[in-house]
C-alpha cells in the first residue's frame, strides 16, 4: 500500500474543525436520546459502502466496546436479509445508505425519508443525517489518504 499525503495532517486547523463538528453531532445525539450502538452501526455501514478500512477498524472496535455482538457486525452488509435488526435500525440503515449513495442516485428517495421520519423524532432524524454526513467526510479523507489500519495486536 503506497504512502499518500494525508489532508488531515497537512491542514491540522481544518482537521480540528471536522473533529469539533463530530463532537457537536455526538452531543446532539446524546441530547436527542439516540442509542450510541445505533450510531456505530451506521458508521460501520457507511464505511463499508465507501471502502474505508481505517474507519471500519475503528468503528467495529467501538461498536464491540459498546457491547455490540460480532454477528450483527458480520451481517451488516446484508442487513436487509437478516432478522437481527429492528424496525428503527432498518429505517436508519436505509437512510444512511441513501445519503451515502447520492453520488450514484442524486436523491434520498421519499419512501426512505418517510420511513426514517416515522421511526424517529424530528431531532433524532436530523442527528442521524448529520452523523452519516460526518462519517462520509472522514471516509473521503481516509480513503483518499489511504490511511493504514494500525498493526494488529498479538
Amino acid at each position: 500500500m503506497s504512502t499518500r499525503i494525508s489532508p488531515g495532517r497537512v491542514l491540522p486547523d481544518q482537521r480540528r474543525q471536522l473533529l469539533d463538528l463530530y463532537e457537536s453531532v455526538q452531543k446532539a445525539a446524546a441530547d436527542a436520546g439516540l442509542d450510541p450502538l445505533l450510531l456505530e452501526l451506521l458508521k460501520n455501514r457507511v464505511s463499508q459502502l465507501n471502502g474505508c478500512a481505517f474507519c471500519l477498524d475503528m468503528h467495529a472496535r467501538e461498536a464491540r466496546a459498546l457491547g455490540e455482538s460480532e454477528r450483527r457486525i458480520y451481517l451488516l452488509p446484508v442487513w436487509r436479509e437478516a432478522p437481527d435488526y429492528n424496525a428503527q435500525e432498518r429505517a436508519a440503515l436505509a437512510l444512511a445508505e441513501a445519503i451515502t449513495r447520492i453520488g450514484q442516485t442524486q436523491d434520498v428517495p421519499d419512501d426512505v425519508y418517510e420511513e426514517a421520519t416515522r421511526a424517529f423524532t424530528e431531532q433524532q432524524y436530523a442527528v442521524l443525517v448529520w452523523s452519516v454526513t460526518v462519517m462520509n467526510s472522514f471516509n473521503r479523507l481516509n480513503v483518499t489518504a489511504r490511511t493504514p489500519v494500525p498493526e494488529p495486536k498479538r
Binding site: P7, Q14, Q17, L18, I99, I102, Q104, V129, S137, R140
Partner: protein, 152 residues
C-alpha cells in the same frame, strides 16, 4: 418538490462548524495560491454529481461573480472532452470526481492521485481534497433536505 426537515436549521451548532470548515478550506486554497475560480469549479462539479440544486445554483452564481465564463460552466459536465480547462483544473476536477464517487469505486485510484500531486504543490492538493470533502458534506445535507435553490 416535497417539503422536508431542513438539516442546517435542526443542528445549528453542527452547521456552524461545517460552514467554518468550508471557510478554512477555501482560505487554505487561496493561501496556497489556487485561483478561486478553480475552487468554484470543483464545488459545482461535486454538486452536479451529487444532485444538489441549491448548491449548483449557489456556486454557479458565485463563480460568475468571480468572472467565470458562461461557457466553462455550461460545459463542466463534459469537461474532459474540451480544451477549456487548464491542466490544474483538470487534475482538480478528476480528483474531486473520484472522491465524490467513492461509493461506486471504494477508492481514489493511483493515477488520479499521481496526476493531482504532480500538478499541485502539497498544500494545494490538500486544499482541493478538503474543498471536495466539505462540498460533499454540504451536498448530503442539501439533497436530503430537498433544499430549494434561492429565488433570483
Amino acid at each position: 418538490m416535497s417539503e422536508r426537515i431542513q438539516l442546517s436549521a435542526a443542528l445549528p451548532d453542527a452547521y456552524r462548524h461545517l460552514a467554518r470548515a468550508g471557510r478554512v478550506a477555501e482560505k487554505a486554497a487561496v493561501e496556497a495560491g489556487l485561483d478561486q475560480r478553480l475552487v468554484e469549479l470543483v464545488k459545482i462539479r461535486v454538486s452536479q454529481l451529487n444532485g444538489c440544486a441549491f448548491c449548483v445554483d449557489q456556486h454557479t452564481h458565485d463563480a460568475r461573480q468571480l468572472g467565470e465564463t458562461e461557457r466553462r460552466l455550461f460545459l463542466l459536465t463534459a469537461w474532459w472532452e474540451t480544451e477549456l480547462y487548464s491542466e490544474q483544473e483538470r487534475a482538480a476536477l478528476e480528483l474531486a470526481e473520484a472522491m465524490t464517487k467513492l461509493v461506486q469505486v471504494q477508492d481514489v485510484p493511483d493515477e488520479v492521485y499521481q496526476r493531482a500531486t504532480k500538478v499541485f504543490a502539497e498544500e494545494q492538493y490538500v486544499a482541493v481534497a478538503w474543498v471536495a470533502t466539505v462540498m460533499n458534506a454540504l451536498n448530503r445535507l442539501g439533497v436530503t433536505s430537498h433544499k430549494p435553490p434561492a429565488e433570483r
